[in-house]
Subunit: 426 residues, 2 copies
Amino acid sequence: MSDELNTLSATEIATGVAAGTFTAEEVTMACLDHIAGREDVVGAWEFVDPELALAQARVVDAAPEKGVMAGVPVGVKDIIDTHDMPTGMGSPIYDGHRPPADASCVAQMRAAGAVILGKTVTCEFAGLTPRKTANPHDPARTPGGSSSGSAAAVADHMLPVAFGTQTGGSVLRPSSYCGIIGYKPSFDTFSLTGVYPAAESLDTLGLHARKLEDIELASSALLMRPHALVPDSQRPPVVGLCKTTMWDAAQPESREAVENAAAAMKAAGAQVRDFELPEEFDWLGELRGIINGRERAVVMADEWARNRDGLSDQLQKTIQDGLDTDHRDYVDAMYLMETCRARTTQAFEGCDVLLTPAVDGEAPVGLDETGSPRFQALWTMLHTPTITLPTHTGPNGLPIGIQLVAPYRADRSLMAISRWTLEACA
Amino acid sequence: MSDELNTLSATEIATGVAAGTFTAEEVTMACLDHIAGREDVVGAWEFVDPELALAQARVVDAAPEKGVMAGVPVGVKDIIDTHDMPTGMGSPIYDGHRPPADASCVAQMRAAGAVILGKTVTCEFAGLTPRKTANPHDPARTPGGSSSGSAAAVADHMLPVAFGTQTGGSVLRPSSYCGIIGYKPSFDTFSLTGVYPAAESLDTLGLHARKLEDIELASSALLMRPHALVPDSQRPPVVGLCKTTMWDAAQPESREAVENAAAAMKAAGAQVRDFELPEEFDWLGELRGIINGRERAVVMADEWARNRDGLSDQLQKTIQDGLDTDHRDYVDAMYLMETCRARTTQAFEGCDVLLTPAVDGEAPVGLDETGSPRFQALWTMLHTPTITLPTHTGPNGLPIGIQLVAPYRADRSLMAISRWTLEACA
């Protein structure tokens, strides 16, 4: 049995461990075995200590009370602190760094009975410079980034759920490229305590999973709420088909995925309307470069001063651009971004959710770049909850996700509509 | 001369060091000498290494280019990371902890030429449990908290400027009690990278100084803008006299300070109107307890799991209350708080600034508590920029600050009006 436990969902694992159907140790062993067989190809992990993982699992098995995440192996992006594993930020500057405490999200997962399996590969400081991870569907292609290892590990059935972070598109892009679900909640939903920042006005902790119910389960652990799946919607959703101004530049497979999903949702009873964002939202892509560079320069002021040579050329350029940005341009960008945020809920114009491309197309060939964040970053700027669902494939048989976006704080509605959408597109 | 340099403003120091009038080393030595003579009474410091401070000063003196903070000694609240000094969080759990990097605000100050003089006393994890600091105006009284050491050190002329953080009232209250200026900018203005959190939706980095121009100077370093004081206002301000529902419970000296300031501002040409916040804002005080407790429990999930016995009884109770809070109550509280925030700018009703009590009265006698945060916390909840100005004294001759509050992101306007107000109240 052990060789199949790694394919179970987090929900199935927690249920099985609580019922005594199998043990957390068996689940952990199955995941470790699968990793041992596939890691050479996928390269999802910065750190896995099998004994440390199994010891956690035995503690869960011995505990009289089982938490909602009992025995569920969880992957942790390597910019997120762990007290018992190194946290390297994807950078030689932090090689072997040992934080004094767990990040809150890690401690919360442990408190809920999860097994912290190891640290997943991140691009350098959650930016654009990748390390070693390959797309499990085609190792010649990028898995996306910056949460590269988390998305690849979940997609490869190395474990059911993992943490990512998104400042531009770092949760949804790799999830879409790897064919799994990626969820970025409303800004300021999950704690960022112990998570290395990238741009403070944009950073959001998110989740990767193969099953939607696992996203809800992990959210319950992080929100410290009694776990229950959100009820089904009372009616099919009103869907805004939001092509954005980047539509024509996307690959045909991405446009076809969205149009096919729209047709399927309509066939299942949804109202689908063409939807255009207000004109001032067109500036958000450009503003993001200003804000991201400027805030990155602030976040990394210490590394810039004391360890500049330890930064990649690409990250040095981002920081230098940020330092060279006129402060007034940053203030103006923030003002426009905050104005757009304040108008976002109203801008939905009665739509429950927006349907929009998640990515430009299939994962690009090559491991030196992680693809474009532009279809994900717009919604990160707006602080809205957003999710990618693995509904489609492209001409090379690789996954193409669609993206659903809900108004700020409408995360529960987004979950219910996502469940409905997965059924409509099945 | 050395025995007077500690009384200079940051602006005077930076100007003098740049001009060669005196050296950064002389300034640092003067501050260290004053600390040596007064620390037994005030107890403002967790860590000062004179040689480390002087070595920084010599580097500044040797540098061909002088930054805007050249030679200015800066105090750093001991929840803010420093790569070369321990960061103890005011807790035995982090006793002797050495972070791998400077917090962004510290690195930015160093980049601007400041001398990081040492780590100032904080209440335990920036909460309510004080350590050893006394009010420099009367050592039998609290300096306020949680930025106790920063406010006391600046007030005692140990140095001109220091960092504080505010989640309830932790910058403005000790500033008011100690008779200095305390500034909490708009939420998400100064970086929190490397600052230990308390409640993530409320935490704000702020500044303590004796001179308003020093607040502007330090802000320029943190915002990476070319330094220039904001221009004077074109006209006297429209002032909303905001007594709040807590007015009658405040001490007479606090009410008198505000009414006297209102009269002085009116005499100087301001329009002063009675101002009432919309009714739903009355809930904010109660909501704060829910949000603060809940977010504190999340932030400290690791310490709760692994080091509970190292937490004070008071902090354990705050966390337990947070864990016991129904998740729906937290969600409701966040919704109401965010609704109030969205209505705040409109609620100003044409007022440029609100004038309101900063504190209940003079600093209370005793060092076991740090006074009430209620007059400060309302504005922290609303994310508005706020400042306390040391304009008045109470019946025991102790300082009573007034508080000015501006709409979100109107920090520059708040600076100009503060300058005008200091002149009007002089």
